[in-house]
């Protein structure tokens, strides 16, 4: 089999961070749906993901995809203790804003807005970046997420102190760490295996 990249052209490229719904175009051939085995379906976790070119590309290595997806779901969806969902999404959006993943930032900014009802503040994070003033509690979360995302990471005791000063207990701080760290995983896949597209309709 000749393997090749899929250069994408002619589509509308988003050039700003947005909360709008974006599409994603792969740069490598997704796995053919007709060839999916039981192990591939397990890798997809949700059968509906067979409609996504992103997951159909990642399913070429099904075991790591399955573990990745289940890690993601628990960090963000597990309702027990820790940080409210809105602020886990804020950590994800902040990491994505720092790294420059327009696609990931769009999804998690939307979720942050949905769960917090603070769409204007979320938009300020997208428009102005990590220097946006979102109030002391959100500032502590976005600063910590950005510091953790830098390479090498600059997350330190001062970030922990700032989070504690805003009422976050250690379980909530672990959620900030996990949420931001996970998007350093997701951003690298989204940015390097394809590119975002503004929907045509």
């Amino acid at each position: 089999m000749t393997e090749h990249t899929i250069p994408q052209s002619g589509h509308a490229v988003p050039t700003v961070f947005t909360q709008a719904q974006l599409d994603w175009l792969p740069w490598l051939e997704p796995f053919p749906e007709a060839a999916l085995t039981e192990r591939h379906w397990a890798g997809l976790v949700d059968a509906s993901r067979a409609k996504s070119p992103y997951f159909m590309l990642l399913v070429r290595d099904p075991d790591i995809l399955q573990a990745r997806t289940k890690t993601d779901k628990d960090i963000f969806y597990n309702p027990e203790a820790g940080l409210p969902r809105a602020e886990r999404e804020l950590a994800a959006a902040a990491a994505s804003r720092l790294n420059g993943c327009i696609y990931c930032a769009s999804v998690h900014a939307r979720f942050a807005t949905h769960f917090s009802k603070r769409g204007d503040d979320v938009q300020r994070l997208l428009d102005d970046g990590l220097t946006a003033d979102l109030g002391p509690r959100w500032n502590a979360i976005t600063s910590a997420s950005a510091a953790l995302s830098a390479t090498p990471s600059s997350f330190g005791a001062a970030h922990v102190a700032a989070l504690r000063a805003q009422g976050l207990d250690d379980a909530a701080i672990v959620d900030v760490i996990n949420g931001a760290a996970f998007f350093n995983w997701a951003n690298r896949l989204m940015l390097s295996l394809g590119e975002p597209e503004l929907p045509t309709t």
Binding site: V16, E29, A186
Partner: protein, 187 residues
């Protein structure tokens, strides 16, 4: 049962306060471990060898200046390869993230940094993987189809590129969780 690698690397003893907090996100803990197992204890190695997995992981950890994690992944490497990776990581040191946005309003935020190319003595397939890993670690927003073509040209399969990408991306997660937990434990 293998040890929990994140607890091990972060120095969290079983039953310690942060290990107990991690237990509340049991699936996240177990699946982060399952991710490690899928990448480093895989039985299908046709698209990315065990040596390649450990060499790239060591390189990525070293680029993050984490000597404990780099030493952990370097353990199975033969000394010559471990030395090569350490040398290449020293050559590749940088600070990120930097890179360019799609041309437009965000171009005002474009920043540049060193683009790494492996030494001529590194075998082409590994060299291509190290080049790609360096881009993913430090300047991910510069990613392009040309980066993937370079891997294909060096003999990587499409599936191998997916595994390589997952490995570098997973390490970027794992290293930050470990760093975050260590910091929190000491604060």
């Amino acid at each position: 049962m293998s040890i929990d690698v994140i607890d091990h690397l972060a120095g969290l003893a079983p039953g310690s306060p942060l290990a107990t907090i991690r237990d509340v996100r049991r699936q996240a803990r177990e699946q982060a471990q399952a991710s490690y197992v899928a990448l480093f204890e895989a039985s299908e190695l046709a698209d990315m060898s065990r040596d390649e997995r450990h060499a790239v992981a060591t390189f990525v950890a070293a680029l993050h200046r984490d000597t404990t994690i780099a030493a952990y992944y370097a353990k199975p490497l033969v000394p010559d390869l471990a030395i090569t990776i350490a040398t290449e990581a020293t050559r590749g040191m940088a600070s990120g993230p930097f890179g360019a946005y799609p041309a437009g309003k965000l171009s005002a935020e474009d920043t540049t940094g060193p683009v790494y190319a492996a030494s001529p003595g590194v075998a082409p397939r590994l060299a291509a993987a190290l080049n790609h890993a360096h881009m993913l670690v430090f300047h991910l927003r510069d990613a392009s189809p040309e980066h993937l073509q370079a891997l294909l040209d060096a003999g990587w399969s499409t599936t191998g590129i997916v595994t390589l990408s997952q490995l570098v991306a997973f390490l970027s997660f794992q290293i930050r969780v470990v760093h975050g937990l260590r910091t929190l434990a000491g604060a």
